[in-house]
Amino acid sequence: MTSVFYISSGIAVLATLLVVTRTNIVHALLFLIVSLLAVAVDLFVLGAQLAAALEVIIYAGAIMVLFIFVIMMMNLGKAEQEANRHRRSPAWLAAGVLSAVLLAELIYVMVANPGPPVGPGNDPREVAKLLYGPYVLAVELASLLLLSGLVGAYHLGRPEQSRAGTARRLDGSPADSSSGSARPTGLGRAERKTQLGAVVAESSGHDSAAIGGSNAGSGPVPTQEEPS
């Protein structure tokens, strides 16, 4: 088990290095997913099975999927990759300083208290008791943060007419006048709504026509999948 731990730790470090050196952003994200999965293996070997499962479900399975989703929509081509290769921004200096501080802290903690970490272990019930007992304030704060994110996403995802207020609707123009005008950003907007989930129904088929086109004539006759 110790060797499994060190192998997956090595993979995590290597994959993370590859994340920051790739110029193709989708490849970088894929290495980030590999790194997250490797950390999940580490947690599992250490005995924190619940944390390992949550790492895969939440980070690898939900958050990174949305990252990939957004990057896919942008459809960055070769030009962007080339630009990334020659980009020299001084911003890396600040990030480097912050990471160095974190690294120093990590080394200090490891030297100061050696030995395996202690915690509630892998019983979901014990973790839940801690979360809704002494740490309930942190849980509530996190849910507040998520709620504010949801409200903000809803505001951004609404069709422009309804965001501008009801003034135009009083003029007699229909609320959903966007259906006729083929906006160049139509696809991107519709997709962003899909990602934000709850907002998509708002557009009721007009903006999302690009992805959810009409479906007339799709009878129950299945043909496409059968290898004939």
Partner: protein, 318 residues
């Protein structure tokens, strides 16, 4: 026989059974659909057309394995493997009979949810790396659909978890010795069934590969063995969802007279057939209808179901 040999043997048998099952399902699906639509279906190759599957496999294996020049080669190659690996790994936590389970984890249900959330990457990367607009549109639909339906797929199972008090699948089956969970948790079962359909991208939720709008969706550019992997992944996915419905809501291996494994297989086959029947009888919704149905009906329903289950458990304890 030592513990290790037993588990290695179990894994080998399980993998062989799953792959055979997936191939057999192709035949079963075509025959059943044909019967329900008053056709014959494949009936020429071998007795009852049984060898049709073999012919299909040989055709798929001997086809030219082609990667388009404009595709992102490494990602294009790895994408079909992800879907099969992720769905097959989930079978590790499914208990087929008492003591017959590859890894009876105490977080078994969470392991299944983790693996099913990873299979999203297969369709996402397939669509992106193909560099084809139909493939990209198909995989965008697939991501939106799978990420949304995953939310209440997890929530619908929490009622069962609350009643059992454990994420371990064998505990969940053992808790159903007196009564199947489908009776107290019917809403949970219905939601899980629908979410399972969406996760496996079967009709009526096969918008990611709607052939009359998107050619073949995310696997437009795939051919030969790589296409076969997507195909296989779909059938293994159907088997997985059916096996989990049986485990979580229909008492797993429990049943009179027959041995436990037989009951498990019979119940699973019934649900696989119902998946096929749905494909033969339902229409595809529009994409916005799919999303609205998910977030406006299924999500509130699963939350109410969870609250009710929690209240019932609390009332029983006091």
């Amino acid at each position: 026989m030592s513990q290790t040999t037993f588990y290695i043997l179990l894994i080998v048998v399980l993998l062989a059974a799953l792959l055979t099952m997936a191939a057999g399902l192709i035949f079963l699906e075509r025959r059943l659909l044909a019967l329900w639509q008053e056709r014959y279906g494949p009936n020429r190759v071998g007795p009852f057309g049984l060898l049709q599957v073999l012919a299909d496999i040989i055709k798929l294996l001997t086809k030219e394995d082609w990667v388009p020049r404009f595709a992102d080669r490494p990602v294009f190659v790895i994408a079909p493997a992800i879907i099969l690996v992720a769905t097959m790994l989930s079978f590790a936590v499914v208990p087929f009979a008492p003591g017959l389970c590859v890894a009876d984890l105490n977080i078994g249900l969470l392991f299944f949810l983790a693996m099913s959330s990873l299979s999203v990457y297969a369709v996402a990367l397939a669509g992106w790396s193909s560099n084809n607009k139909y493939a990209l549109l198909g995989s965008m639909r697939a991501i939106g659909q799978m990420v949304s339906y995953e939310v209440f797929m997890g929530l619908s199972l929490m009622g069962v978890v609350a009643m059992t008090g454990s994420f371990r699948l064998s505990d969940i089956v053992a808790a159903q010795e007196r009564m199947w969970f489908v009776f107290p948790q019917f809403a949970g079962f219905a939601i899980f069934f629908i979410a399972g359909l969406a996760e496996t991208r079967r009709l009526p939720f096969d918008l990611p590969e709607a052939e009359n709008e998107l050619v073949a969706g995310y696997h437009t550019e795939y051919s030969g063995m790589k296409f076969a992997l997507f195909f296989l992944g779909e059938y293994v996915g159907i088997t997985l969802i059916s096996a989990l419905i049986v485990t979580l809501f229909f008492g797993g291996w429990y049943g009179p007279w027959l041995p436990p494994v037989a009951w498990f297989i019979i119940k699973t086959l019934i649900f696989i057939s119902s998946f096929i029947l749905l494909r033969g009888s339902l229409l595809r919704p529009r994409y916005d209808q799919l999303m609205a149905f998910g977030w406006k009906i299924m999500l509130p329903l699963s939350l109410v179901n969870l609250a009710a289950a929690g209240a019932a458990v609390l009332l029983k304890d006091h």
